[in-house]
Amino acid sequence: MNLTAHAPILAVAVPLLGAFALPLWAKLHTSLRDLWLVLVAGVTGALTVLVAVQVYTVGIQVYTLGAAWPLDTLAPGGFPIRIILTVDALSAFLGLITVLVAVVGFSYAWRYLNEDEGKTLALTLGTLLWAGMLGMAFTGDLFNLFVFFEVTSIAACGLVGYRTWASRGPEAAFKTMVMYTVGGLFVLLAIALLYGEYGALNLAYLARQISGSVVDRIALGLLLGGLLMKAGAVPLHMWAPDAYGEAPAQAVILLVANTQISLYALFRVLFTLYGGVADPAIGWLVVSLGTLTLLVAALMAVVQMDLGRLVAFGAVSQIGYMLLGVGVGLTVIAARPAYGLVAIQGGIFHMLNDAVAIGLLFLAVGAVEKAAGNRNLANLGGLGHDLTWTTGFFLLGSLALAGIPPLNGFASKLMIYQSSFLLSPILSALAILASILLLAVFVKAFQGAFLGPRLRKAEPVPVSMLVAMGVLALGVLALGLFPELVVRHLVAPAADALWKGRDLYLQAVLGR
């Protein structure tokens, strides 16, 4: 068996198998479960990296499930019948983000969750969420996308409702679940429309068929609605602060990665599926939603009193930067000026930066909550005396997120500012304004939580949690100091996949 050829499917199937077996191991002994989880995470991570290496060095990877040969994408007659995994550079990039986030999250969760509060179930849900994200990133089939969309939705909502002893957790989970389900049903309706019109489900094949008729446009509208909702763009973001604020910290960073995967699906729909009938109006829609997201979320963050909710609004505002960057690229894709590519690069690079920085912040918030017992900014204070490392990490993450040089947020934001300036200076000004607001927000949070006299004795943070945060902090520093390497080797191919990779994508599947 040829491992490199099978790597795309194994990267999804191994965590699924691992998740199915996890409760059984836990019934035997919890340490067996932890060992199994480490094994599964290691294998999955290695496989994903293998896929990414293949994609970045060789090109788009396709895998036909159930065919006589993995590359045997077409049935006699020249049309795809089976589910085809299609991994291009953007998918691989998102896959790498999920690996980073999941590994960090699991190592954080090891000591963060209590054994008698459903740790096994939470870990299983985390694994399933990871597998769902990988499945969403790697699939090349529209209905399969929906199925894994639902996997991530349900796993995410289960994790959000983890704190059943308080009323806020289930409430946030219910609202999130309603939004996710309605969005998912819209996506399914769009798929049904497209299937009814064209009798196919493969992304590439559909992309070639779509002609821009009324039904196609309505399907596009439904897809946009569902995916924008899952990505958390204002004003569809309402679920996001609730969910981020209430989920346990190790789950939140997976949720953040989940919104990015939804953004990926959105970009896939806009650039690949509907790339043939691209339209500047849709680009402007994405740009304006992105700008709205930036401003509203940052402004809302200023007035929050709950530390988790505050950081959550910060996380929502970051989605705006990605939408802005890629939306600028989408707006100008017909003319293809150079700054369009830079904008897309900025947007995609910001995905990685956001995952690292906001993940660090959320983990720090989780440590604060565990140490101090609450998250209300009116009651917190002086934690810097006891939680030295956590304080540093929180500061690092908030500065990175606010875009202070030389940390990682700045590099991607710079690219977005510049390119959106070339499209319209107002956009750039608004984006910078949002960054300033974010800086204010995080200064407030930092001052409120960590500075000042010691109010009460804080519990020390376990070492494994610190290590998890340290990994992300190193990521913040490294991405900030060497952005050029990352952009050239990882981000640029991914951006190219959106910018002009549509034909390559179709060719990889359809052969012509």
Binding site: G221, M229, A281, V296, L380, A440, G448, L451, P483
Partner: protein, 108 residues
């Protein structure tokens, strides 16, 4: 190291060098400052309405009071929109869907 962004560039090392220069400048300025400041006087305490308080902490909620107060009309409106009512959440979804439909069907 240099990240080209179309019209400009970004190099963290250059920035670090510049930052070091600025820090040096600041140190120089600082070293030429007043010498008669001493620890343990009132200058260290936070000034809260003239009250002397031991171990006082300006909580996070009180920061930017004026700023938030100035923006209150906007902020209050935004907060009202985040009503926490699940019907409103779906309502926003429908509104955005309507906008998207209009743009997709009419605008293009």
């Amino acid at each position: 190291m240099t990240l080209l962004t179309g019209h400009g560039f970004w190099n963290p090392l250059l920035w670090l060098a510049a930052a070091a220069g600025v820090t040096l400048l600041a140190l120089v300025v600082w070293s030429r400052g007043r010498r008669d400041y001493t620890r343990g006087t009132d200058g260290e305490l936070p000034f809260l309405s003239g009250e002397k308080m031991e171990g006082a902490h300006v909580g996070g909620g009180h920061l930017y009071w004026g700023f938030v107060e100035g923006l209150r009309p906007y902020v209050e409106r935004l907060r009202a929109l985040h009503s926490g009512l699940v019907n409103d959440y779906v309502g926003w979804l429908v509104v955005i869907l309507a906008v998207v439909f209009l743009i997709v069907l009419v605008g293009g």
